[in-house]
Amino acid sequence: MSANQILERDASIIRRTAVPARNNAGSPARRRLRAMLGTIVPLAAALLGLLGTWLLVSYVLLNPDRREILVPPPQEVLTTSFLDWSHVQPMLKALLLDIEVSMTGLVIASALGVLAATVMSLAGWLERSLYPYAVVLQTVPILAIVPLIGLWFQYGFNARVIVVVIIAIFPMIANTLFGIHSADRGAHDLFTLNRASRWQRLVKLQLPAALPSIFAGLRISSGLSVIGAIVGDFFFTQGQPGLGTLLNTYLLRVQSPDLFAAIILSSLFGIVVFAVFTFLSKLAVGSWYTGAQSRSDDR
């Protein structure tokens, strides 16, 4: 009996059959296109699903008299709000204001946050005495102190920025501090052996090592800054209206399509801000920071 016959007789044999190499799609441009489609197609499918659900709720679940108020169908949001300049213009103006408020607040929160964390990292006792208060800042409900902020700083631009700073600063402090402490022990020894000054250690070792964490904090804080701006709008109605102000107005006047349009706009705003800071982070530390620091020992 030949070897082949033995194999055929034995039904329990496990075969590892060959699969030809796919020789993946020639040019890099095509491969990039394919990767892009791989991201976009599922996203688009989910969006379609969402729109479908929206339509379903509007037309199937709700009576016509309630539909217009509770869930106006998407095409109506599009025609009465987004495509009508007199409706969309105040929203865009409000959006611009919110962009200004949130980005001003974010810049201040980042600068103060990195500075505070750097100061805390200088000595154990500084960190032990200050960090708990940073945590308190995070845990005190913002809504509880907002009226006080209004009382102190009026009800306009400054007060809104301060709300953003309070909401966005904690992730900056916490992430920067974590990053500063993450510098390699061996690298610290190297600096010690070369008699590095405290300043050299901070600037050449600890802060660069903290950059990936600082950017991670920035991504979280950027999203929070959008929330802060809109929350600020709700409370501080002096001066130009922000998206939060409009949301409130539309709700009171039962302008449901406009309400939906404003919600969509503020969500898009948040998503774009998050995407921009994710991109910036990749640009800044992507070349050397690979997350897990994958290291292959042979090449």
């Binding site: 061996g186 050397w288 690979t290």
Partner: protein
């Protein structure tokens, strides 16, 4: 009082180290490294070999005894390459000059020269993540060489490399020894590495570490790679291994 005997570059006199946890890492170590001498220390893991280097370099203080150094121009090569991942190979080597506040031109020239010595001139702009393990270790060596130190401390520098890279690195280091005039204290757990590189091999016991035995290695530098397969080399390695086993029992 410092008791630095003639021609000694590093001298341990009655050195002991007990950690705050109570663990006695080293007990009564007397050891000297002569000027221009290459001394290896072998011993079982956890015997306090690395502690020896941390004490000598001043990263840590002994709890008894004294360590005297002929020069403060020391370099330390760590177990890991310990490169800053955001700096290129060249910038990593330059770091030492920066910390010592050399002028930009001076430290760059010195860094380029050191990278050339380890054969990495073409890779000066690469980030550590783009280099292989062996190349990263060579950058680390270049960084140690850059200020032309008098005393080198090596803490199992090739321990994490694969066998072929490791042998090649030993040969390169040994070629450097031939041209340079530094003293070196080299920690390793590889007997053949110790014999191949050193003028003298010191065997330590398990914790608490103490010195059990010393073997002089008479071969001239530069040493050919094939030396490792010669009978005399084997005999010396055998002597070191026997002492190691004895200390382990």
């Amino acid at each position: 009082m410092s008791v630095l005997t003639d021609r000694a570059a590093v001298q341990f006199t009655g050195v002991a180290k007990q950690f705050d946890t109570g663990t006695v890492a080293l007990a009564d170590v007397d050891l000297s490294v002569g000027a221009g001498e290459f001394v290896s220390v072998v011993g079982p893991s956890g015997c306090g070999k690395s502690t020896l280097l941390r004490l000598a370099s001043g990263l840590s203080r002994p709890t008894a005894g004294e360590i005297a150094l002929r020069s403060d121009r020391i370099a330390y090569v760590f177990q890991d390459p310990t490169l800053l991942p955001w700096r290129s190979a060249l910038a990593n080597v330059e770091l030492v000059g920066e910390l010592h506040r050399l002028s930009k031109a001076d430290r760059r020239d010195k860094a380029r020269a050191a990278l050339a010595t380890v054969g990495l001139s073409e890779f000066e702009n690469q980030l550590p993540a783009q280099l292989s393990g062996g190349m990263r270790m060579r950058v680390s060596l270049a960084r140690a060489l850059v200020l032309e130190p008098d005393i080198f401390f090596f803490d199992e520098p090739f321990g994490a490399l694969d066998e072929i890279t490791r042998l090649r690195m030993q040969e390169e280091l040994q070629r450097l020894l031939h041209t340079a005039t530094f003293s070196a204290l080299f920690i390793t757990h590889s007997v053949s590495e110790a014999v191949y590189l050193s003028n003298r091999v010191v065997v330590m016991s398990a914790r608490p570490g103490r010195i059990l035995h010393e073997v002089a290695i008479p071969f001239d530098y530069p040493r050919p790679a094939e030396l490792r397969y010669q009978a005399e080399f084997g005999q010396l390695a055998g002597e070191v291994s026997a002492a190691l086993l004895e200390g382990h029992a």
